[in-house]
Symmetry: C2
Subunit: 257 residues, 2 copies
């Protein structure tokens, strides 16, 4: 096995849960940094803006800058700019600050995130009609579920993306995890060889399967939304399954085996 040169960390369910740090995660991150292993954060959370994620990390005691966090909204903004699109946003109100103010004119793209309570029938129907009428269909993420602040499993963006895909018979362009381009951006930021870079996450598909498909290694933690048997849902299996980020970092510091 190659050594581990860089680490990508999921946030919710790995570093923190709700507003609290997951036990051991801060010391684990400190350990990586004291060993000079570069790391950055790769999240599919689309119910909080980049600023909010940064504030939450700072509040629990993890130093991070904007450049250290990769979010689907940032990736989508770049795509919108590159393609000169006028997007219609079906996203959480909290996420709006990550996007430019809506431009005038008819939208030619629909961007769907975890809109939460903003997923009304009316809003979904409006998005459906725009996509059905020919607008680009961009999904920030396609995760099935997330564990909410109360600890309950909750519908994530994925089910609503699938609803719109079924209605329109079209496939969304996914910009967040597990999109290979999204992983490639984060790995390029670290400057480490993909095969020597480990993604650590609690979502066996977006985090682990996605990382493996992007040529990285993928570690599954049994915190956050993890449920027994999740590791059996993907083939090939995770590079390793660990109790939590603490154990994951120990695995890395032991040489990744």
């Amino acid at each position: 096995m190659p050594k581990v040169s860089g680490v990508l960390l999921d946030l919710s369910g790995v570093v923190f849960s709700g507003d609290d740090a997951i036990a051991g995660s801060l010391a684990a991150i400190d350990d990586l940094r004291s060993h000079n292993i570069p790391l950055c954060f790769v999240t599919n959370t689309t119910s909080a803006p980049l600023r909010g994620l940064l504030e939450k990390l700072q509040a629990i005691g993890v130093a991070a800058s904007r450049e250290d966090i990769f979010t689907p909204a940032v990736a989508a903004c770049r795509l919108v700019k590159e393609r000169g699109l006028t997007p219609h946003l079906l996203v959480h109100p909290n996420l709006l600050e990550d996007f430019d103010a809506p431009a005038a004119g008819t939208p030619d793209a629909v961007i769907v995130g975890d809109a939460g309570a903003a997923f009304t029938f009316e809003a979904l129907n409006e998005a459906f009609r725009a996509i059905d009428g020919g607008a680009e269909f961009i999904a920030l993420a396609c995760n099935r579920t997330f564990r909410d602040g109360k600890g309950d499993l909750s519908l994530d963006a994925g089910p609503f993306v699938k609803a719109l895909e079924f209605a329109t018979r079209r496939e969304a362009l996914l910009v967040g995890k597990p999109a290979t381009a999204f992983y490639a951006d984060a790995v390029a930021h670290l400057g480490t060889p993909p095969a020597e870079t480990v993604m650590i996450g609690d979502d066996v598909e977006s985090d682990v399967e996605g990382a493996l498909q992007a040529g990285l290694r993928g570690l599954l933690v049994r915190t956050g939304k993890y449920r027994q048997g999740d590791e059996g849902l993907i083939d090939p299996p995770p590079s390793a399954v660990v109790a939590d980020l603490r154990e994951g970092v120990d695995w890395i510091l032991a040489g990744g085996r």
Copy 2:
């Protein structure tokens, strides 16, 4: 080709559109009846109760009794009774009258119809958690779209069923069209051989493909939600594609060819 002995008619988009009869449909139904060809109505509309459908038919001048209309809600009620289930209903408020009042106790089944504006994030999340917790997952219908009263294409039950299937990794038990059992009930009511029975509808999947799979013939009308090219979406293709119910009945009276 065998002769046509019986006819199943879809309602919305075939017999009426919004509150109005589709031109020629009343005379076409009269023609079938005057030729003593038994017919009944097989609808996947789950935003109106059986009483409402009957009233609408009577208002536009089509005589029909409760026994002549097959709806997913009626089929679901029978299933609930047979299996002794305690259902949680995620359906349109208008449809509630077709179900018994909610029984006490924890639901062990979730029934999803075209809930329209009642498809809130909260309601979908509640349904998700019940299904994820082990409740039976019953879909009244899985149509992608319908044409609403204003003539706009609108999200039907299907996208929301698919959302819940994706989130729970489970497959819904479908009771409405295109379920073969649903077609079998309607054909048994007519008492005609399936191969001599024609289903006429505007939904190429639920109406036409479903009928063909149930051993019936399937006629696609170019009214209602029909859009150019729909007939190419299924294989084998429709038995015939006709302008409207009037032309469909002419096809039948000409011997089904």
